[in-house]
Every structure is written in structure tokens, then in C-alpha cells.
Amino acid sequence: MADYSIWVCEYSYVAKYHKSGVLYGAHNQGYVKLPYCYVVIKGRDHVAMVDVGYNDKAYGKVLGDRFGVENWRDPKVVLAEVGVAPDDVDTCFISHAHFDHFGNVEDFPKAKFYIQEREISKWVWAMSLPDRMRWMMVAVDPGDIVRGVGLAAEKRLVTVNGAMEDVLPGIDLHAAPDSHTWGSMWVTVRNDGQKQSQDTWVLAGDLVYQFSNISNSGAVVDVDTMYTPVGLAVGSQTNLILATEEMMSQVGYEARRVIPIHEEGLRDAFPSRITKDGLRVTEICLADGEKSMVA
């Protein structure tokens, strides 16, 4: 029995991303493709998302011209590939406030947004620091916080302090403070609805960019594999490792159940297809009675 279908929908990508950004310490090891994705969770009369991407009107030219980000597509186009529309989305879990995760709330006019309160409060604090400490406020657009003001006024913004169980039936939020960002979080789907679930999926946000963050070679310390954190942390790599351990423990250490969203290799672990726009849709699991969107 499965309550929810889960799809990872690519909405843009960077063809050549430096590997050391993905994997801490992987300097001079070349480039990897970095897909930009969000996650759609459908079931129990809900359509939810983990993150909402960015708005190309605001950032597209800069990203395209300067950073090689390619092939951005509107959520209407991307979500249609899994049979839903932005208006159908009632719940959005924002894993963190970076522009490519929280930068397009306006395209989801009926959704309620969940974000860790620490993600906002610490960012306000970081904005108050002297210019010499400006590094701590990278990749966040004040405009997204401005739009958060509108969401709060409409009672569509929920700030979460730590973990939150059953936000939707069988879906929990978990905090990873001072890790990738000040208030990153991941989403856990207990797809059989049980407290002690045998069918758990973890949607990792940017706490894990790719599977290699979970199963990197451990040769250097004489073990088969070891966790290796992502390259960017305004908190600490230690906290990323601790979060990874907690995510892995939730899925009984079955690494394929921790879903990274910047991972091209999802295609090797799950059924997927390329859309007519050249973007990948990956089907993580299907709810009972749901038809495949990648067959």
C-alpha cells in the first residue's frame, strides 16, 4: 500500500558544474551535470511540492549569461508532465531559502508554504553583519523574503521550529540547523502511513546534492564508502554529516531512499524519461491506483 506518488521534476540545469561544489574537497576533479529540480508529491487528496525553483524573469538572463544555466521551463510546463498544474498545489515545503528553491512562490497561488523559522531569522541576522562578513548571505534574494511578507499576510506562510510530524498525513519535516544553510530541512514521507514505516522516502533538499554525498569512496580511510558532505555550507560540514546519518537511519540505511534533487544519476536508480523540452522526469514511487508518468 502506498499513499503518495513522488516525482522529481527537472526544470533547468547546469551542464558543467565544478565537482568540488557537489562533493567537499573534490578539487581539480572536473565537472558534473547539475540538474535543477523540484519534487511533486501527490496523494491523500493533496498535491505537495518540495521547493518551487526560481523565476526566470528575475534571474534567467544573469544565470544564463554568466553561469551557464540552461533550459529553464515554467512550472506549468514542467508539472504538466506529471499531470498536475501549479493551481493544484496546496502545500510547498521549502527546504531552504536559496533563490533556486524559494524563488518562485508566485507561481503557486493556492499553496501554503512551510519553512524553518531559523532560515528566516538567521538570514535577517546575517544581513545585519558588516560587509566583510558578506559571504554568509550568498544565494538569497531579498525579493524572496519580500514575497514571504505577502505570504504571511495571506496566512500562507508557516514557520516551523524544528521537526513537525504529519504536516500532511504521513509526511514529516525535519530540521538540519546550521548545515547547508541556517535552517535547512528535509521532508520524510512515510508512504504506508505507519509510525514505524517500512516504506519511507527522504527528500533531502540540498543537504545531499548527489548520491556520492552518501556513498563516496572511503578508500582514504580504508573503508568501502563514507558520507562526504556537499561543498557549500554556511553552517558546517559536520552538521551535514549528522543530518545525513539521521536521514539514512530513517530509511533503514537504504541509500536509494534518500532522494537528492541535483542528481543526474536518479535515472539509474528509478524509472524516468526525457520530456520534449529535454528535461528529465523521474518516478520515485507510485500511489495505489496512480498511473505511471514515465512509461
Binding site: Y31, R66, G68, I120, V138, D141, V146, A152
Partner: protein, 184 residues
């Protein structure tokens, strides 16, 4: 700020909760320094752009902070926000921006660019100063709504004054998920 007939503006164009319902020059894209360099010469424009950067950064930060504090005020119904250390730092930065704006000389052709910065400063200040007027034990929704509109308007002006190549941009992408393969 230019006065416009309120009835006409509301009736014809904007709902009361729209940031465009506020008086003042509209936020509109103006020739950015990069564009103007082609007609005015790069030196004079380059000097202007360099002088703009700290003002732009101050305003970007003030708008971000005020927005975050507004969310806090809305969600907690607490009114002591005006006393927070972050708010004092925000005020100090806003005053710094005022001093820098006062000495910022826009070359001919870029005066509208400076208007956008000045308007962003004005509206962010309106929102920031309004925190002191929030009262405990009463419903501050009307005031918070107004502050939300003001900060949205401030952001719209700053966005209009943005220019990636002049180093005036909202997001620092240097360590973002996309900060690779930098083209220039």
C-alpha cells in the same frame, strides 16, 4: 513624491493592496549604467556605478532585513521588534545609505537611475520607521499591511535600478548552486 489623484489611480489601475497605489515615481526599468556607458563613455559611468554599489548594497540589506522582521511581526504579533539589535543596525545602514545618496552625483542620462535608488530608500525607510508605531495588545494588521506594500514598492524600485554588469544585483551567485562555468 509626486501626487496623483487617488481615486483615479485606484479606480483605473491598482487595488489598495498593490504597491503601485503608493504615491511617487513609478518603479520602472531605466537605462542602466552598462547601457549608458555606450553613449556617455565608460569612465564617467564607471565612476557613477562604483559610487552606486555601496548604496545599492545598503538598500538590498535594509529591504531584506525589514522584510524578515515584518514576517516575524506578522507571525508572532509581537511589537518589540523596534527594540531589537537587528533593527538598530538596520536603521544605521539606512542612515548610511541616506548620506551616500546625498553625495551621489548622477551624470546626465542616469538621473532616473538615481531616482529609483532614492525611491527605494524612501519606501524602505517608511516601512522601517513604522515598526515604532506598532502597539501591543491591539490588532496591527492594517499597519502591517501598509508596511508590506511599502517594502514591496522599495524592492520594485531597487530591482529597477539593478544592473548585473555594473555590479548591482540582488543575489550574490558566487557560491550558489550555479556558480560554475562563469562566462565573464
Amino acid at each position: 513624491m509626486t501626487a496623483v489623484d487617488l481615486f483615479m489611480r485606484l479606480a483605473q489601475t491598482h487595488k489598495p493592496d498593490c504597491h503601485m497605489s503608493l504615491d511617487g515615481p513609478p518603479p520602472e526599468t531605466v537605462p542602466d549604467p552598462e547601457e549608458m556607458a555606450r553613449t556617455l563613455g565608460s569612465d564617467v559611468v564607471g565612476r557613477y556605478a562604483a559610487a552606486c554599489r555601496p548604496v545599492y548594497e545598503d538598500l538590498r540589506r535594509v529591504i531584506g532585513q525589514v522584510s524578515g522582521l515584518l514576517i516575524l511581526a506578522r507571525l508572532t504579533s509581537r511589537t518589540e521588534i523596534a527594540d531589537l539589535n537587528e533593527m538598530q543596525l538596520c536603521r544605521a545602514r539606512w542612515r548610511e545609505a541616506a548620506e551616500r545618496l546625498a553625495t551621489l552625483e548622477a551624470p546626465t542620462g542616469l538621473s532616473q537611475h538615481k531616482v529609483q535608488l532614492t525611491s527605494a530608500h524612501h519606501f524602505s525607510g517608511e516601512a522601517m520607521n513604522a515598526f515604532a508605531g506598532l502597539r501591543s495588545g491591539v490588532d496591527n494588521s492594517t499597519e502591517l499591511d501598509r508596511m508590506g506594500i511599502q517594502i514591496k514598492r522599495a524592492y520594485a524600485h531597487l530591482e529597477a535600478a539593478s544592473s548585473s554588469k555594473a555590479g548591482l544585483q540582488m543575489v550574490d551567485f558566487t557560491h550558489a548552486c550555479c556558480s560554475c562555468a562563469q562566462q565573464n
